[in-house]
Amino acid sequence: MENNVHINKAVNVVAFYFKNAGPAYRQAGSRLKCFPKRMEYDGRRVEFTETGLRHPVQKGKSLVHVFDMTDGNADYRLEFDAQNLDWKLVSIADAFRA
């Protein structure tokens, strides 16, 4: 059974930003790409090893970017408000590991 814990708290995130990342056909007009690298939550440091999916979500008129990240042990859902530059940890899912 899935163990999905809703957190919904502001967190500190260290992120890398890359411009024109990827192959040539994607570079024209591409924007700055953001990749969360590290998060501090509940007194511990989480190092992300992989970005699952990054997708924008419209909340009324404002736009937030949702990042599904993993550190190899659990999956983390982060939200980045591009207007206020705030990071929020939405949920942590684990229990899929044997």
Partner: protein, 418 residues
């Protein structure tokens, strides 16, 4: 009508993201990869599995099954609720990739689309379509994620392209042309063909047609007069030979919304609140498409299995939520109190282009237009159903717009709501 095979070079490319929602969930959450996964609209035992991962399908799980049945087959199945914004993002990426090759792109559903390369091969897309197909696969992996896979089928018409796309799941690329058509069909069953399910198979069997090759060799006269008893038979004759008969744009005839009750013993007040919400949803869809309607239908399914429906064509057209609800209530009040209501539906028909941008000489009509526009604007800004009927407030948290199986016509509304 053509009796020979279409010998044109294949120009139709069909892309299908098989197990789309499950694959997207596995892309988003690496810990789900390689595990049996079922995506459902609600996490309840009776919820329908709308997508199953390939690992789940290997254990016998099928789309459309109840979650409880799926768990019997795959005890370690992981169930996840649908997340529309994720699928919308992947859909947008897929459309963007497809439109970079040809302006003639049509999406058949959330997870499949067609690129028509006619007229683009001389100057833009000079490379073979198989090369373009492999490039699309790579771009999907680069732009969305490394777990994303798609099937690609290339053929002279839409039907054969879709058939080609289903030959080697989950990451195939196949071409069907006049040179290998018979060989390809020889390896298929009748029900492997899109559009041939049990009933059509029975129709064909009754005419002595048991295989796709016999179907291909059947005369148009037999297909039209005996098998399908309509022009559909001739369409099949053409379709199987690679001639295009499916390049149609269908106009919207009806707009509506249905809901299976969250409470199978709901009192009348609760049913009416669901009805009010369905009317709001129908109104929202109508205005989104720029329509008003003159006809309205309400249907009910009772707990005992009986159905009741009523429809009425009105003299005046309507577009506002309050008018839809008023007219739906007139119809709803006629229903016999046989049993508890378990399913409810509202459908608007006799659609016509909305004339709300024309100022009326009647002040009341103008007020209704302005009020509706103002409420829609608030809801657009703060999310759908922010301003809603007091009577439907209770239903707001219960009725959620979920991922539709087919059409993508209301995807923007769905995202607004999500």
């Amino acid at each position: 009508m053509h009796s020979e095979l279409n010998e044109e070079q294949p120009q139709i490319l069909h892309i299908d993201l098989n197990s789309c929602f499950a694959t997207v969930e596995q892309q988003a959450r690496p810990s789900l990869r390689g595990r049996p996964l079922g995506v459902t609209n609600r996490l309840t035992a009776n919820a329908c599995v709308v997508a199953a991962s390939f690992e789940a399908k290997e254990q016998g799980v099928k789309v459309g099954m109840r979650l409880s049945e799926a768990r019997d087959l795959a005890p370690d199945l992981i169930a996840i609720e649908t997340d529309p914004p994720k699928y919308h993002y992947v859909y947008q990426q897929l459309v963007r990739i497809m439109k970079s090759y040809s302006p003639k792109v049509s999406m058949k559903s959330i997870d499949e689309g067609i690129i028509d390369f006619h007229g683009t091969r001389e100057n833009i897309n000079k490379r073979p379509l198989t090369v373009i197909g492999y490039e699309i696969k790579k771009r999907l992996r680069d732009d969305v994620g490394s777990w994303m896979r798609c099937n690609i089928g290339i053929a002279p018409n839409r039907f054969l392209a879709k058939t080609a796309a289903s030959l080697h799941k989950p990451d195939g690329l196949d071409v069907i042309s006049h040179t290998n058509l018979r060989k390809t069909l020889a390896g298929l069953q009748l029900t492997d063909l899109t559009g041939i399910a049990e009933r059509n198979e029975a129709r064909l069997n009754a005419c002595g047609i048991y295989t796709p090759l016999q179907f291909l060799d059947a005369s148009p006269k037999i297909l039209r007069n005996r098998a399908f008893k309509s022009i559909i038979g001739e369409d099949w004759h053409q379709r199987l030979r690679g001639w295009e008969v499916d390049d149609n744009e269908w106009s919207t005839k009806t707009i509506g919304r249905q809901f299976v009750m969250d409470d199978y013993q709901a009192p009348d007040e609760k049913v009416r609140s669901r009805l009010a919400h369905l009317c709001e949803s129908t109104g929202l869809k109508m205005r989104h498409k720029g329509f008003c309607a003159r006809g309205l239908a309400v249907y009910i399914r009772y707990k005992g299995g009986d159905y009741w429906s009523s429809r009425k064509a009105f003299k005046s057209s309507f577009f506002s939520n309050s008018e839809i609800y008023r007219r739906a209530t007139l119809l709803f009040n006629q229903h016999p109190r046989l049993d508890y209501v378990v399913e409810l539906g509202v459908t608007a028909y006799l659609l016509e282009p909305s004339g709300t941008n024309q100022v009326s000489i009647l002040e009341d009509v103008n007020k209704e237009v302005w009020l509706t526009e103002a409420v829609d604007e608030i809801n657009q800004r703060f999310g759908n159903y922010t301003v809603t009927f007091a009577s439907s407030a209770d239903a707001k948290g219960k009725i959620k717009q979920k991922i539709p199986f087919g059409s993508t016509r209301y995807f923007e509304l769905l995202i607004q709501e999500a």
